[in-house]
Amino acid sequence: MKKKLKNLNLSRRNFLAGTATLAGIAATASVAPITIANANHSEGKKGLPDFISWKDRDALIVHSDKGIETHRSAIGESLVTPNRNIYIRNNMPTMTDKQIGNRMDWKVSIEGVKNPKTFTIAQLQKLGHETMATILQCSGNGRGFFKHKPRGSQWKTGAAACVLWTGVPMKTVVEACGGINGDAVYMTSAGVDHVPTGLDPKKAMIERSVPKKVFKDAMLAWEMNGVPLPNAHGGPLRMVTPGYFGINNVKHLGKVAFTTSESSVKYMKKSYRISPIGKKGSQYPSCWEMPVKSWITRPTDETGTVKAGKVQIVGVAMGGTKKVRSVKVSVDGGSSWKKAKFIGPNLGKYAWRQFVLETTLSSGTYNIASLASNGTDKQPELRMENRRGYAHNGWKDHSVNITVV
């Protein structure tokens, strides 16, 4: 058995080296192997892959080397989630410093405007400078609660973070290009992280279209929470689409185009569609606007037993594309609710708000839930069942059980 394994491995090396065989494999499987030189995946000393060995292992749940979630209790005691605690969800391998080169020379082209232009980051930095807070949330955050076990990382609450971005407003960039072409309907952003892989761009390029109006609040960001945008989070330049799911916040940004139709790549047409279980297709809605949502971050089943008496129930609440207006908290599984108090600074409608409810609990077990409203919509009790487990904002699944002693 061992001998045969060795032989097969040798033949595999041959196939990696031999272009004729390689082309054959690519034709069969519709993919081409990446060069080993680009690999950055070996497991670091802390049990995290090398490309994010700087993160806090204790704050993270590793679903795979490319799907890493923040513990519910590690969202952060302050409003902004620290970079070392922020989740990782990569569709393509993170680009390396070598692939990126001089960060200031990184280029992004702007098309579908009166005067199409290509800017380096150095040029963008002369155009404008702003900081804003948004929620970065994977479309599949909460997938782990779906009973039909959709394919993909089984996130519970931790594929989300509140981030301070610094960059240039897209509006400023558009003005510098003479305005948007009249017939445009979408803003379409494309990453270049598929390029080093050599894969077919139609299948591998992360190109996402969002309604044109999003440009008004969007940003081309080069800094994240006070440091140059880490490669693992899309550095050196990322599109930020406030209120829209993570996938639309395109990493390693190479092009922004105002287009008359949606991108035709797989990641737009087929992936990230919210379809009923057992059905799929581009006729179903894309993962765009995030719904209103909240969850408890402390105390939780992760933080151990709670001492009887006065308890501070803390959490985060977001309004999606609208400002979050109110949050109610229940300690009896939703039978009764009390209004929680917002605390901490208000960093705008696209950031989340922290909330707290001070209550007194005697010994026993409790189911704690939170229910947010943005004035128009409030969280439903139950999840919206869908094939891939997207956009879950039901309050019941997000509740936590705690024991008070």
Binding site: L5, L8, N9, R12, T28, V31, A204
Partner: protein, 109 residues
Amino acid sequence: MKILKFLLIVFFSFLFKNQISFADEAKMIKGLEIFNETAGCAGCHVLKAAASEGNIGPNLDTVEGLSYDSVMDIVTHGLGVMPAFGEDEILTKDEIDIVSFYVANSVGK
């Protein structure tokens, strides 16, 4: 007589057990071949047992809760850039069964 019966049971049990094991071993060899060559999984995934170093999809040795069923599901239907090997008829049902068996029994080894 009782002793003879007992020995027969032991003999057949041994034979049956080894037949399964031979079948499994053949499946593992075929599975490795599909993984590395027929399907080209190695081009996109790390799997130490197969000495593969691809870096497009997740390192299979790190995937939480990976099982025969979960591999079969993803290989059949695809995920993101990963092709739907079953739906698009890139692999046969038998090949999917064999490669899923191989991966599920190779992770972490």
